[in-house]
């Protein structure tokens, strides 16, 4: 059986499963459509959250990113997991106790202000659209890279599948497909990782292989990698060229950003109670950690293996690969590996014989022998080619394809729910047409979800031409950290926080972070102009403090919120004591 057959089989089977779940889990009310009836088991919600959270970037790119960044890659590992500690302890249980449907619901009702709600909607939409473009693009890349289907058609197929379960099933459909997608994804990630760990270190657990010796040698894997890299003129794997303050701020911005991302927060609205939300966050992080502790191991193994098999290998053309290989190997030479030849046409790996010696030189910027680097590899190649590098059978590669798609589709669906509920619930039901019936709202929610699928597909289609898509991910985390996190946090932990403070805090975070990132990504700013040496990826953390201070000062200078709102805050701090408070609850009772 060849690899394309297996890829089609696994992708087809997993898609059929997702559509089947969508039909089974049709949503019948807005309560089911937005929050799956507040009825999802905490462990299942943990799995769904893990799939929601781990995107195409986590699945395909992160290991490669870490492989090239070494210690510098730690910002993603700590940043994208540490945020769950903040979420579990500072936000999730309280927002669940608050008992509405969306993040702007909380902002609008807690700060008794339609304007605050609309600002929160703008933040949520901006963050989600930034994020979703990358997901749809990931689906297109997976289809075109593995199945030979054109990029555009790949996106269209992805849109149709997401359309099915997001529009029909709403949050209920999305939740149960995400559970299935998590299983596909984690299996597809760990199987090749175990084999490559066995090959390099002889330890079946990648997490332990990471700190073990190289198989059959008396040197630890990381020490060997450091040695190999410095010999070729790279920096040591366990070092970084980033400053400590930058590493600190990027990690913090990713953590607070994670905690403030609407599509992650709403997942905790789907469980029964505040208590369930707490334990569910624990499960979510456990399921995420399975992949996130495997990734750095895969990254290091892959980098070592990549240099080992490719560096100084003789390059051989397509036509006479088999014959030449036999001849060269008989002389004790090294030939370009088969997987390299296989992936070359996709452009993910490339070789240019700069010194004309017919061999492939991998060199760092300070190569002792003064040779130029001739081999370029994309971040995604390590996860994609791992099964072949580890000489695993074709069906494992099919599994990785299905896993990559599961990662992209599950995150896309979670984001679509945020976009559609922001439009149908926050803008239509709670801002523009307040008397709307539940049935009408459900219909609008479906139309909004369909519209969002379509818009996301379009953004994905043009993502290639719009080169900035990769650049704007910093926006999503920075804005979530600087604009959404402060108002949600203060709304729970400081009763005195009022409408004026919230609006000032959100706008301060939004404008400063947006301005800073825009200036350095598109406005021609250079790194030596960085504020305190903090790069755009980490600036959200600094401006989060600015937003907090601006919000607190404004709140102290303006009237305190009414007693009703202060009672509401007291209620959400104590599980089970939530009663009706304020105009927001008259418009929509908590559930």
């Amino acid at each position: 059986m060849d690899q394309t057959f297996w890829s089609y089989l696994f992708v087809g089977l997993s898609f059929a499963l997702y559509v089947g779940i969508a039909i089974w889990a049709r949503a019948g009310s807005t309560n089911e459509f937005y929050v799956a009836g507040h009825d999802v088991h905490p462990t299942l919600n943990g799995m769904a959250t893990a799939a929601d959270w781990m995107s195409a970037a986590s699945f395909l790119s992160m290991a490669g990113l870490i492989a090239f960044l070494g210690y510098g890659g730690s910002v993603y590992l700590m940043g994208w997991t540490g945020g769950y500690v903040l979420l579990a302890m500072l936000l999730a249980p309280y927002l669940r106790e608050f008992g509405k449907f969306t993040v702007p619901d909380f902002v609008g009702d807690r700060y008794y202000s339609t304007f605050a709600r609309v600002v929160a909607v703008v933040c949520a939409l901006f963050v989600s659209f930034t994020y979703i473009a990358g997901q749809m693009k990931g689906v297109g890349v997976a289809f075109s890279g593995f199945l030979g289907i054109p990029f555009e058609w790949g996106i269209v197929i992805g849109m149709v599948v997401v359309f099915f379960y997001a529009v029909l099933g709403g949050m209920k459909g999305v939740t149960y497909t995400q559970v299935a997608q998590y299983c596909v994804m984690i299996f597809a990630y760990t199987v090749p990782a175990i084999f490559i760990s066995l090959t390099i270190t002889g330890n079946a657990f990648p997490q332990l292989g990471f700190i073990s010796d190289v198989r059959g040698e008396d040197i630890s894997m990381l020490a060997k990698l450091n040695g190999v890299l410095t010999d070729l003129g790279f920096a040591e794997y366990t070092s970084t060229n980033k400053t400590m303050i930058d590493i600190f701020c990027i990690t913090a911005a990713l953590m607070f950003g994670t905690a403030g991302l609407p599509h992650v927060i709403v997942r905790f609205f789907t469980v029964k109670s505040a208590k369930a939300a707490r334990i569910s966050a624990g499960w979510a992080l456990l399921f995420i950690a399975l992949l996130y502790t495997t990734a750095p191991a895969v990254g290091a193994f892959a980098r070592l293996n990549f240099i080992d098999t490719v560096n100084e290998a003789t390059y051989v053309g397509e036509e006479d690969y088999a014959a030449r290989t036999v001849a060269i190997e008989a002389d004790g030479g090294k030939v370009v590996p088969e997987w390299f030849k296989h992936w070359e046409p996709t452009g993910l790996v490339s070789f240019e014989d700069k010194n004309g010696d017919g061999r492939m030189q991998i060199r760092g910027p300070d190569a002792p022998d003064g040779l130029e680097n001739e081999v370029v590899a994309n971040n995604d190649i390590f996860v994609l080619a791992n099964p072949e590098i580890a000489r695993l059978p074709g069906w494992v590669i099919g599994l990785v394809v299905a896993g990559g798609m599961a990662a992209a589709l599950s995150t896309a669906a979670g984001l679509l729910m945020v976009i559609s509920s922001a439009v149908s619930h926050d803008l239509c039901r709670r801002t523009l047409f307040k008397g709307m019936s539940d049935t009408t709202e459900l219909r609008i929610a479906r139309v909004a979800a369909a519209g969002a699928v379509f818009a996301a597909g379009l953004v994905g289609l043009f993502a290639d031409r719009l080169g900035f898509v990769a650049q704007v991910v910093a926006f999503a985390f920075g804005l979530a950290a600087a604009s959404l996190f402060p108002v949600i946090f203060l709304g729970i932990f400081w009763k005195r926080m009022n409408r004026e403070g919230a609006i000032v805090a959100m706008l301060t975070g939004l404008i400063t972070t947006f301005g800073y990132i825009y200036f350095f990504k598109f406005g021609g700013g250079t790194p030596d102009q960085y504020l305190f040496g903090i790069s755009p990826e980490g600036i959200g953390f600094l401006f989060m403090w600015l937003a907090l201070i601006a919000g607190i000062v404004t709140a102290l200078l303006t009237p305190a919120p009414s007693q009703e709102i202060q009672d509401l805050v007291e209620d959400i701090r104590v599980p089970g004591s939530r009663t009706m408070h304020g105009l927001g609850d008259e418009a929509m009772p908590p559930g």
Binding site: L77, G82, F210, I211, S212, A289, E564, V574
Partner: protein, 94 residues
């Protein structure tokens, strides 16, 4: 929507300040550990910790890429247990 029938602000409200103080104490202590293992061990004191090693990995580097994540998971579960205890102690039903 089960709680719509309850009275709005009728009379005296229960005093849950002791429960809230206990919650804040637990939250702050666990967040201190959260800060120490990630920003502390993985970033600020990394150079010092790298003089020691765990298996074949420098300790500070290991915390940044592995150790901090394990501690995060454990912290959330400890938080759940702690909150359940506090709820029982103060008779909170959630």
């Amino acid at each position: 929507m089960s709680e719509t029938e309850k009275p709005v602000n009728g009379g005296s409200r229960p005093d849950n300040s002791a429960y809230w103080r206990a919650t804040l104490t637990l939250t702050l202590s666990l967040l201190a550990i959260w800060f120490i293992v990630s920003f502390g061990a993985g970033i600020l004191f990394r150079d010092f910790l790298d003089r020691f090693s765990i298996g074949g990995a420098p300790l500070g580097f290991w915390f940044a890429q592995q150790g901090a994540i394990y501690v995060f998971v454990v912290l959330i579960f400890i938080y759940c247990i702690g909150m359940n205890r506090i709820s029982r102690k103060y008779g909170i039903k959630g």
